[in-house]
């Protein structure tokens, strides 16, 4: 860094710094009308300054909140920074949330200013306007379809920019003085946590929090302005925000915004990012796609894939970690790299990935080693919104599939007797917005944050997370029951999309399964099995057999681990519908809300434990257009083969 990092203590100051030292380097790219358009750091800074002036003219004051609803777009990030220039607080909201979900944050923070990407988002904001009288101004980016809108609250982004430019030419020093007023301890942003239970909470993070954590990992991984990131997760997710807003401003790297949600895969191939972060489900989805396409390939290609993937599984990870490998295996791996791994990395858009992270929830060990064996440096990290993400990160050469790595510089860890992980870090959030009680519960008087995750530190100093502290239960016989561990094992099968395991205080474990429509439909088509839709396919006997086989394999694995042998899954049913965030069954980050599901489908759970062969279900369904209806079905329940611990050991 050419300037003392100490004086660059807010994001707007960092932006102006980059505009000075690397003004002509790319800051944000966006694919528009089929062509990648670039904003340099200078253009980014100019846009932000003009926009901030526009907001100031509109009466946006220091400490005021700006709600942002939209996908990853340069203008959305410019709006975030513009609010921060004026000492305001950006509040990104999930762009796929339904209107009623947006009402709470807006009411909670009495938000007056909002930025909406397009007509769809404007419609949602207008819909909740009666419940949110505080909302005075809505700025929209894309004017398409907006001409007939007459609401007094609406103004286009372009108009706002125009107002701002007028002020900028009248009084160029104004915005610089505003930026200079910013302090490290000012609130930089507020993120509403999806929360697997209860109402969302606004997590208040300061510039200091976010910059400190971003900088610690940028230094650890030597991130610089040669790095490239593709921004494809919701900007309201802290992970995406760190990777596409905070860290680029600290390290000076370039972010790329895909053309549309459906083009992410091909955009990724074009951009070839060097730094990549995605939650495990994205890696799962990619692997499912690869598996499905390999099934369709010719016999020769399938044979090559299988043979070389076996080689990769044996030695790939060791080669990535520069450990000694036999000469024959080394030759085979390099041949495989030429024939399979290289092309596959290219298809995944990961040819140039230097560092890939996954986090947000536990990743299946097989899934994890699949990517590493291909030569992709995938590592795990641990953190949450409250900790500005980075708590633990696996350094190169110390990667293990079952841990999340040692603490990042600056973080202190300790455990309660109940194995709950406590954290103290410069990245720790200031408070939950207007919720001192929740703040006190999460952060104690000495500044320790209670993560709610259960785990321990292994002999190498790596943290191992088993499950959510409140989810870890005991079977009736007192042995450990870690539902998420089981679910992750199940989800590694391409045919299983989601799983929900039950067993706390019960004699044995049962599970709900959601099949992966894409993979199972493909499987069924190849076997000439006719079906009309998800519900029909899910209830086919052959599909039950397929799933039962997968569960059987998991049971065989579990039987080999003494402390988990009792967690073998005895019975299961395939749900009649896919679990949906719109129905409250998943969080917006697609984590299973186990308690809610257990309550909603209580009768199905009981039916499994009563030993019945089928259960009648009648359900309310919400369609995407907001209407709802009911439908009824008869769900089958099947037993799974289980293994005695000793027998499994012999078989292995």
């Amino acid at each position: 860094m050419t300037t003392d990092a100490g004086t660059l203590d807010t994001f707007p100051k960092l932006l102006m710094h980059h505009a000075r030292v690397r003004g002509a380097r790319p800051a944000i790219r966006e694919k528009d009308l089929g062509i990648w358009q670039t904003w340099t750091w200078q253009q980014y800074a100019d846009e932000v300054r003009a926009l901030a002036c526009g907001l100031a003219e509109q009466g946006f004051r220091r400490g005021e909140h700006l709600a942002l609803v939209g996908d990853n777009r340069p203008r959305l990030y410019a709006a975030i920074c513009a609010a921060q220039c004026l000492g305001g607080v950006p509040v990104p909201l999930y762009q796929d949330a339904v209107a009623t979900e947006m009402a709470f944050p807006i009411q909670n923070a009495e938000i007056a200013f909002a930025f909406a990407e397009d007509q769809e988002q404007v419609d949602k904001l207008l819909e909740i306007l009666p419940q949110c009288p505080s909302l005075k101004r809505i700025y929209y980016d894309d004017p398409r379809g907006m001409r007939q809108y007459t609401s007094a609250q609406l103004m286009s982004y372009d108009k706002l920019l125009e107002i701002g430019r007028a002020l900028l030419s009248r009084d160029p020093a104004f915005i610089d003085s505003q930026i200079a007023k910013g302090k490290a301890t000012d609130t930089a942003a507020m993120f509403f946590t999806s929360g697997t239970t209860g109402v969302p909470k606004g997590v208040v993070l300061t510039h200091e929090n976010l910059i400190d954590r971003s900088r610690a990992v940028a230094e650890m991984e030597a991130l610089g302005d040669h790095d490239v990131v593709l921004a494809f997760m919701p900007p309201a997710w802290i992970g995406q925000n760190i990777f596409s807003y905070a860290q680029p401003l600290v390290a000076g790297y370039c972010i790329c915004c895909p053309e549309a949600a459906e083009t992410v895969v091909s955009d990724m191939r074009e951009v070839a990012p060097t730094y990549y972060f995605a939650p495990p489900r994205v890696f799962e989805a990619l692997l499912t796609q690869v598996s499905v396409r390999m099934e369709d390939a010719s016999a020769l290609k399938r044979w090559l894939y299988r043979s070389f993937m076996a080689v990769a599984k044996r030695v790939g990870t060791r080669i990535l970690e520069r450990q000694p490998v036999g000469p024959l295996d080394r030759i085979l791996y390099h041949l495989g790299d030429f024939v399979i791994y290289g092309p596959l990395r290219n298809v995944l858009g990961m040819s140039k990935v230097r560092i890939a992270y996954t986090g947000g929830e536990a990743i299946g060990p097989d899934l994890f080693s699949f990517y590493r064996s291909l030569g992709i440096n995938l590592k795990q990290l641990y953190g949450s919104t409250e900790t500005s993400v980075f708590v633990c990160v696996q350094p190169d050469g110390q990667v293990k599939s079952d841990t999340v790595g040692p603490a990042v510089k600056g973080v202190e860890l300790k455990f309660t007797p109940q194995r709950e992980l406590l954290i103290r870090s410069p990245g720790l959030f200031k408070e939950y917005y207007k919720n001192p009680q929740a703040t006190r519960e999460a952060k104690d008087a000495e500044g320790w944050f209670h993560t709610g995750d259960a785990g321990y530190v292994d002999q190498d100093g790596h943290v191992r997370i088993i499950d959510r502290a409140k989810d870890v239960g005991k079977l009736a016989d007192g042995t450990l029951f870690a539902p998420k561990y089981l679910e992750n094992k199940l989800k590694f099968f391409p045919y299983i999309k989601e799983a929900v395991a039950f067993g706390d205080k019960r004699s044995r474990v049962c599970a709900f399964i959601n099949i992966d429509m894409e993979a199972v439909a493909d499987w069924a088509e190849r076997r000439n099995i006719a079906f009309s839709g998800y519900t029909d396919l899910a209830q086919q006997d052959t599909v039950y057999e397929l799933v039962a086989q997968c569960l059987g394999q998991v049971n065989a694995d579990l039987a080999r681990e003494p402390e988990l042998a009792n967690s073998q899954i005895h019975r299961f049913l395939i749900l009649h519908k896919e679990l949906e965030a719109d129905d409250g069954e998943l969080t917006r980050t697609r984590k299973v809300r186990r308690g809610f599901i257990a309550e909603k489908y209580g009768s199905l759970v009981e039916a499994m434990y009563q030993g019945r062969d089928s259960v009648h279900v009648e359900a309310q369904v919400k369609y995407e257009d907001g209407r709802s209806g009911t439908f009824a079905a008869e769900l089958k329940i099947r037993d799974v083969k289980t293994f005695a611990p000793a027998a499994a050991r012999r078989a292995a």
Binding site: D32, L33, G34, I35, R144, G145, R147, Q148, E259, A260, E262, T263, S266, E624, D625
Partner: protein
């Protein structure tokens, strides 16, 4: 919502048009008009003469009697090329795309009449041909963006699901920058979600480009939702003409169409 659109004067009218194939009288003295910027629906049971009417407007069929008035010009009949040059574009009931070509190329074919350079210039890709191609590509990309089909830009049309193919066909018609767009059953064979998407695109086209839209549709719900005025045909005759509400209440329509069919 329709009140907010600036509906103008009559842009297209048919006056006592009759069309017969041998002894089959497909249209018998049908007259109606279409105003600028409106969404005009033609409905009727199977065999009522809806597609024939569209084919007359488009110059595929030549009526034996009557005349067509387009922008104050009178025509005895139209031919397709003339219709296209005047700014009338259409889509087909059974998708008529080039299955082996990509979405991009298919939409590019809609720019056919707007290309000025000759074959030699295009083959050599000299200055004007190159500038022209870039300008057309930009127009096509704007349509791709408008219809939200960026993810299949380079995919051969034959590999796309039906609903997307319909959207590509709409895109190709739009590429001609028409003043009047004729849509032959744009929602036929679609599921609910695809229909809603298509409705949104039709209304967006109407609003964004100001295109006048004449559509044939089977789905009564769709017609009543998005049309400004509806003309009802039955056995080649005009049965009713008016706003969706007027048509819905018309006893003759109920008897001939709604009442009997359902």
């Amino acid at each position: 919502m329709s009140g907010a659109r600036r509906i103008g004067d009559v842009i297209l009218a048919v006056d006592s048009v009759s069309l017969a194939f041998g002894g089959v009288r497909a249209l018998q003295g049908v007259s109606f008009d279409v105003r600028e910027h409106e969404v005009r629906a033609i409905i009727g049971p199977n065999g009522a003469g809806k597609s024939s009417m569209l084919n007359v407007l488009n110059g595929v069929y030549h009526p034996q009697q009557g005349k067509i008035i387009f922008r104050n010009l009178e025509f005895r009949d139209m031919n397709s090329r003339q219709a296209a040059k005047l700014g009338i574009a259409r889509t087909f009931q059974n998708i008529a795309l080039f299955k082996g070509m990509t979405v991009l190329d298919n939409i590019m074919t809609g720019r056919n009449l707007k290309m000025r350079c000759n074959f030699l210039q295009q083959a050599l890709w000299v200055g004007p041909a190159r500038r022209e191609e870039l300008a057309h590509r930009k127009a096509v990309e704007e349509i791709i963006d408008f219809l939200e089909i960026q993810h299949v830009r380079k995919t051969p049309v034959g590999r796309l699901p039906y609903g997307l193919q319909k959207r590509v066909e709409l895109g190709r018609a739009l590429a001609a920058e028409p003043t009047v767009l004729l849509l032959d059953e744009p929602m036929a064979g679609m599921n609910l979600e695809e229909k809603q998407d298509m409705c949104r695109f039709v209304l967006d086209v109407n609003d964004h480009y100001g295109t006048t839209i004449v559509l044939i549709e089977h789905d009564m719900g769709v017609v009543m939702d998005i049309s400004d005025r509806v003309v009802v045909l039955d056995y080649g005759r005009k049965l009713a003409d008016g706003t969706p509400d007027e048509v819905r209440r018309d006893q003759k329509v109920i008897d001939a169409y709604l009442g009997v069919a359902h």
